[in-house]
C-alpha cells in the first residue's frame, strides 16, 4: 500500500483524530495512511465506536451470570429465559442526531437498535425509549419531533413500543437525550453471532443502496454540539421503516437455511465498522471487499464515501461459499437488493478494492482495538448545596401539593405519548404502557417478559454513585411490581464532556455505582452503549444520565400484577420503610424550587428484602396490585394506583413517628418501597411473609370509593386527580 501524504491538523480535526493518535497510526503502519484509511480510522477511533474514554471503566461492570448466553461485544446481549427461548436486547443512544434533526434522529435511533437485535437472529418483539428534554414549552420542537420520530418508525415497522420514560430538566434544553431499547426473542439454538468465520466465505451487503448520508456521523456524535452543528444535518441519516420491515422479514427467513454464517448490522461508521467488527471477532480473520460492487444511490461516490456512509437499513451477511444464490433468493423475494462485495480472508487485514485498485489495507485489530485508551483524570466537583430540612416551610395542604405534583411535567400521565405509539401489535402485550414495567408474553408458552427503562438523573447529579445504584434498584422494582424476577441489564451511559475532570469523575462514580448495585442484585450487564460530549458549546453539561434498561421474567404471565387497584375493600399497604428523603425529590423542586441535598440513601440488603417479599406474595397470589413508590413519593404512588384502577382509597391520617416528618412521609422518595393492594383474606399471610423477610409494612387504608382520603389530612376526588394528571405534557 502506497503511503498517503502528510496530514495537517485541520484535516485531523475533520476526521476527529488527535495528533498523538495519528502518530501512533503512522508508527503501527510504518507509513502515512492514505485518505480512505484516514477516514476509516477516524470513524472507528471515534469515541462513539471505540469507547476509548470509557472502555477501561466498562470492564468494571459484571457481565456474567448463569442465564447469560451472550454478554457485551456482540450486536446485542442475550439471556436464556427457559423452554428453549432466549431474550435478546440492547439500548442505544441517538442524542446528537436528535438534537439537530429530532424526527429523523429519533427514527433512525429506533431503526438502528432494531437491526442490532435482528443481527442476533431474533425477532424484535418490543421497543422502549428513554427521553430527556428541556422544560416545556421551549423544548416543544425537540419533544414533538422525537415522539413523532419514535412512533413514525415503530408504528410503520410493526413492533410495539411498550414502555420508556420521559423527563424534563433545564440541563437537557440544548442536549435532548434519545435512548432506544429493543427486545427480541429467538430459539436458543438459532441465536446468531456476527463472526466472520471461514476463509473464502462470501460477504453480502443487503438492503438499502448506499448514499452519501451520514458520513462522519460517528465522529459527529463524539464532539460537543455547537453553533455549527446545524451544518452537520447531512450527517443525520434518514430512516425508511418500510424497507427495514422487509429487511427484518427477509432476515427471519434466513433461519430456514444453514448457508448463513453471520449477520451484522451497519450502524455508526457503516461498512467500515461492520466489516471490521465481524472480522475482528475471529482470531486472525480479515476481509477483502470491493467498493465498486456496492449498490449505490447516487453517482460519483468515492471509495471514501462508500466506506463511511451511514445509510440506514443495510445489513452484512456472511454466507458459505457457493451458497450465495440461495441467500440472494431470500432477499429477492422481498424485493431487496443484495450484492456479494467481498470475502473473508485469513490475513488479519481489511483490504478495500475499487475494482482493480487497492484503496486501503489496514490491520483489522488496528481498526477495532487500536484506539489507545484515553487516560482521563477525574476530580470531584463542589458538592451540591446541603439541604436544611428545618428551613423548609411545613406542609400545610398536602392535597393541593399532590395536585401540583401530579400536574408537573415529570410526574403527569404519559398517556398523551404512548397512545401515539402502537403498543399492541404482535398480540403479545399483556401489560400495556402506563404502569411500572411493560410485559410481553412469549407466545406458545406461559412465560412473560417484563421490561423497563429507568434513571433519575437529578439523583445522579447530586451523587452519581448513589444515583446510578438507585437507577438499577428502581428498574428492578418496576420489574418486580409486575410479579416478574429481574434478569439482566443493558445500560446507556449519557454524560457530558469527559475531558472535564468533574465529568469524568461523574462517569467513574456512576459506573462504580452501577457495578455495585448490579452485583448486589445479581444482575449481569449484557449490552450497552456510551454517549459522551452531551454538552452544547461546552456551556450546558447534562446531568449524568446512566439509563438502565432491564428485562425480567415471570414463569406464568397469568399471575402478572398491574399497578392499579383492582377491588373495593382491598387492604392498601406500604411495603418498606420511610425516612426523611427529600433530597433531590420532585417535591423539593416543585414545592420549594430547590435541587439540593443528597439523593435517598439506598440499602441494597433492604432493597433485596422488600423485592423478595413482593415476589413471594405475588407468587402465592396474595396481591391484587403492586406499584413502585418512586418520584413524588408515597402519596403520588397512591394517587397513581387509584387512577390506574379507577378506585379510590380511604384511611386514617398519617401521623409519622419522630424523626420522620410529614412532608417526607407523604412526598419523600425513600427507595425499596411499594404500594400493594391485598384482598382481606390474604392479609395474615402477607403479614407473616413480611415478618419472615424482615420488611416493615404499614396499612394505609382500604381501596374503594372515588376519593383519595387520609381523614382530616388529604381529601381529593379521583376526578380532580385525573384532571391534574392527564393534562397535555407540552
Amino acid at each position: 500500500m502506497k503511503a498517503g501524504p502528510a496530514v495537517d491538523e485541520r484535516r485531523l480535526r475533520e476526521v476527529a483524530l488527535s495528533p498523538e493518535e495519528y502518530r501512533g497510526i503512522v508508527e503501527r503502519l510504518k507509513r502515512q495512511p492514505n485518505e480512505v484509511e484516514l477516514g476509516m480510522l477516524g470513524v472507528l477511533w471515534s469515541e462513539h465506536c471505540s469507547y476509548k474514554s470509557s472502555k477501561a471503566l466498562l470492564r468494571r461492570l459484571p457481565s456474567a451470570g448463569k442465564a447469560v448466553l451472550q454478554g457485551p461485544g456482540e450486536n446485542a446481549g442475550a439471556v436464556s429465559i427457559g423452554e428453549g427461548w432466549a431474550a435478546v436486547f440492547k439500548i442505544e443512544s441517538h442524542n446528537h442526531p436528535s438534537a439537530i434533526e429530532p424526527y429523523q434522529g429519533a427514527a433512525t435511533g429506533v431503526g438502528g437498535i432494531i437491526r442490532d437485535v435482528i443481527a442476533m437472529g431474533a425477532r424484535p418483539v418490543a421497543l422502549l425509549d428513554s427521553l430527556r428534554f428541556g422544560p416545556p414549552p421551549e423544548s416543544d420542537r425537540h419533544f414533538e419531533g422525537v415522539v413523532a420520530g419514535v412512533g413514525g418508525y415503530g408504528n410503520c415497522i410493526g413492533i410495539p413500543t411498550v414502555g420508556g420514560e420521559v423527563y424534563f430538566d433545564e440541563c437537557y434544553a440544548q442536549n435532548p437525550l434519545v435512548n432506544a431499547m429493543c427486545v427480541g426473542l429467538v430459539r436458543v439454538d438459532q441465536l446468531m453471532r456476527a463472526r466472520a468465520e471461514g476463509t473464502g466465505n462470501s460477504i453480502l451487503l443487503v438492503g438499502a443502496d448506499t448514499g452519501r448520508d451520514g458520513i462522519h456521523g460517528a465522529s459527529f456524535a463524539s464532539l460537543e454540539l455547537d453553533d455549527s452543528s446545524a451544518e452537520r444535518r447531512p450527517a443525520v441519516q434518514v430512516g425508511n421503516p418500510f424497507l427495514e420491515k422487509c429487511l427484518l422479514e427477509a432476515c427471519m427467513d434466513l433461519a430456514h437455511t444453514d448457508a448463513v454464517v453471520a449477520v451484522q448490522d451497519l450502524g455508526a461508521a457503516g461498512l467500515t465498522s461492520a466489516v471490521a467488527e465481524c472480522a475482528g471477532r475471529v482470531e486472525g480473520a480479515g476481509a477483502r471487499i470491493d467498493v465498486s460492487r456496492v449498490p449505490r444511490r447516487e453517482r460519483g461516490m468515492r471509495p471514501y464515501d462508500v466506506m463511511l456512509s451511514e445509510s440506514q437499513e443495510r445489513m452484512l451477511v456472511v454466507v458459505r461459499r457457493g451458497r450465495e444464490a440461495e441467500v440472494e433468493a431470500i432477499f429477492e423475494a422481498w424485493d431487496l437488493t443484495s450484492a456479494v462485495i467481498g470475502e473473508v480472508t485469513d490475513d488479519g487485514l481489511l483490504t478495500v478494492m475499487d475494482g482493480g485498485d487497492e484503496v486501503a489495507r489496514l490491520p483489522v485489530q488496528l481498526l477495532t482495538d487500536g484506539a489507545p485508551a484515553r487516560r482521563l483524570v477525574g476530580m470531584a466537583p463542589e458538592p451540591a448545596p446541603e439541604l436544611d430540612l428545618d428551613s423548609l416551610a411545613p406542609l400545610s395542604d398536602p392535597g393541593a401539593a399532590l395536585l401540583r405534583l401530579l400536574a408537573s411535567p415529570n410526574l403527569m400521565s404519559r398517556r398523551g405519548i404512548f397512545r401515539r405509539y402502537d403498543h399492541m401489535v404482535g398480540d403479545g402485550t399483556v401489560i400495556a404502557p402506563g404502569g411500572d414495567a411493560a410485559m410481553i408474553r412469549v407466545k406458545g408458552t406461559e412465560l412473560g417478559l417484563a421490561m423497563t427503562t429507568d434513571c433519575n438523573s437529578r439523583y445522579c447529579h447530586l451523587d452519581p454513585h448513589t444515583g446510578a445504584q438507585l437507577a438499577v434498584a428502581e428498574a428492578a422494582r418496576n420489574i418486580i411490581a409486575t410479579g416478574a424476577r429481574p434478569l439482566a441489564v443493558t445500560d446507556c451511559l449519557n454524560f457530558a464532556n469527559p475531558d472535564r475532570p468533574e465529568v469524568y469523575w461523574e462517569l467513574e462514580e456512576a459506573v462504580d455505582g452501577l457495578a455495585y448495585a448490579c452485583r448486589a442484585l445479581e444482575l449481569p450487564v449484557v449490552s450497552g452503549n456510551v454517549s459522551l460530549y452531551n454538552d452544547a458549546s461546552g456551556q450546558s453539561p447534562i446531568y449524568p444520565t446512566p439509563v438502565i434498561g432491564m428485562v425480567g421474567l415471570i414463569d406464568d404471565y397469568a399471575r402478572r400484577l398491574g399497578a392499579g387497584f383492582r377491588a373495593e375493600g382491598d387492604f392498601v399497604l406500604l411495603i418498606g420503610s420511610s425516612h426523611n428523603d427529600l433530597g433531590g425529590s420532585e417535591y423539593l423542586k416543585i414545592e420549594h424550587g430547590q435541587v439540593a441535598g443528597r439523593p435517598p440513601a439506598l440499602d441494597l440488603a433492604r432493597e433485596r428484602a422488600s423485592g423478595a417479599l413482593v415476589l413471594a406474595a405475588a407468587e402465592h397470589g396474595y396481591l391484587h396490585s403492586a406499584h413502585d413508590c418512586a418520584e413524588g413519593g408515597m402519596l403520588v404512588a397512591l394517587a397513581e394506583s387509584c387512577l390506574l384502577g379507577g378506585i379510590g382509597m380511604r384511611g386514617p391520617a398519617i401521623r409519622p413517628e419522630s424523626p420522620l416528618r410529614l412532608d417526607s412521609a407523604l412526598f419523600g422518595e425513600s427507595p425499596s418501597r411499594f404500594i400493594v393492594s391485598v384482598p382481606s383474606r390474604a392479609m395474615p399471610e402477607v403479614q407473616s411473609l413480611a415478618r419472615r423477610h424482615h420488611v416493615e409494612i404499614a396499612l394505609l387504608g382500604l381501596a374503594g370509593g372515588d376519593v383519595l382520603e387520609f381523614e382530616g389530612q388529604v381529601k381529593v376526588s379521583l376526578a380532580d386527580l385525573r384532571g391534574a394528571w392527564e393534562g397535555r405534557i407540552t
Binding site: C156, G158, P241, F242, K245, W334, M424, V425, D427
Partner: protein
C-alpha cells in the same frame, strides 16, 4: 373454513390475524402473498393492518395494484367474504370495493387506544355472533382512520344501512367525545351493499384473548367461521 390472510410488503397484522385464526379460533389458515394470482380456495380473505408498500403516496394507493388484488376483486364479485382491517380497509377503499376514503386523524396524531363500537348490523356473515346493537370493545391503531365520503355517498350508506360499526361510549351513545379520529358520523366500519365486503379501522385480531384485554374481536372471527358452516348446510 379456510381463512386467507394477505401479506403485502409492509403488512404487520398478518401474523396477528394468523395467530387468531390458527391458534385461538382453530380454523384453517392460508397466507396469501401479494404476488399470488390465486386465492388457494380460501372462504374468507382478510386484508390485514400495516403499511403496505410503505403506504407511500397515499395509504393503500399502491397495494390495490398488487396481483392478488385483482383476484380479490373477482372473488368479491362472486360473493366471497372479504374483510379489510385498518390498512386493509384503506386498501379496499382505494380499490373501489368500498366507498369513501380514510384521511388523517383530526388530531393529526397517530392513535393507539381502546374504543367502544356500536354494532349496527348483526345480520352479516361478519357480525352474526354479536347481539343486536351490542357495544363491543376493540382497539384502534392508526394515523389515518378518519372516514370521509361526499354527502351523497354518506347518505346512501346510511339509507342502505351499510354502516356496521360506529364509535360510541360505553353505554352505546354515539357522541363526539367517543370519536377518536374525526370520522364522519363516527363511522368505524362499513360493508358493501351486498354485505360480503367489510372494512373496519379497529383491530379485532388484537382482542381475541382475555390476556390482551378483551375477547370481543373473537366474536367477529367466530361469526365468519359459522357463516361458512351455514353456507355448507344450506
Amino acid at each position: 373454513m379456510r381463512f386467507g390472510v394477505v401479506v403485502f410488503p409492509g403488512t404487520w397484522s398478518d401474523r396477528d390475524c394468523g395467530w387468531v385464526v390458527d391458534q385461538v379460533l382453530g380454523a384453517e389458515l392460508q397466507y396469501l402473498w401479494h404476488k399470488d394470482a390465486d386465492l388457494k380456495g380460501c372462504d374468507c380473505v382478510i386484508l390485514p393492518g400495516g403499511f403496505a408498500y410503505g403506504d407511500y403516496l397515499r395509504t393503500g394507493a399502491i397495494a390495490r395494484f398488487a396481483p392478488v388484488m385483482e383476484k380479490i376483486g373477482e372473488f368479491a364479485d362472486r360473493g366471497g367474504l372479504v374483510w379489510g382491517i385498518c390498512n386493509g380497509f384503506q386498501i379496499l377503499c382505494e380499490a373501489g370495493l368500498l366507498p369513501g376514503a380514510l384521511i388523517r386523524n383530526a388530531s393529526l396524531e397517530f392513535r393507539c387506544q381502546w374504543t367502544n363500537l356500536l354494532v349496527e348490523r348483526n345480520d352479516l356473515a361478519f357480525t352474526s355472533k354479536c347481539e343486536e346493537r351490542e357495544v363491543i370493545r376493540v382497539p384502534i391503531s392508526h394515523g389515518e382512520g378518519n372516514y370521509f365520503a361526499d354527502p351523497a355517498t354518506l347518505s346512501r350508506l346510511e339509507q342502505r344501512g351499510q354502516v356496521v360499526f360506529r364509535y360510541c361510549d360505553g353505554d352505546g351513545r354515539v357522541i363526539p367525545s367517543s370519536n377518536p379520529n374525526g370520522s364522519l358520523h363516527n363511522i368505524a366500519g362499513i360493508v358493501n351493499a351486498r354485505g360480503n365486503v367489510l372494512g373496519m379501522m379497529p383491530h379485532p385480531e388484537r382482542c381475541a384473548e382475555t390476556e390482551l384485554g378483551g375477547t370481543d374481536g373473537l366474536k367477529l372471527f367466530r361469526s365468519v367461521a359459522e357463516s361458512a358452516i351455514k353456507v355448507l348446510v344450506s
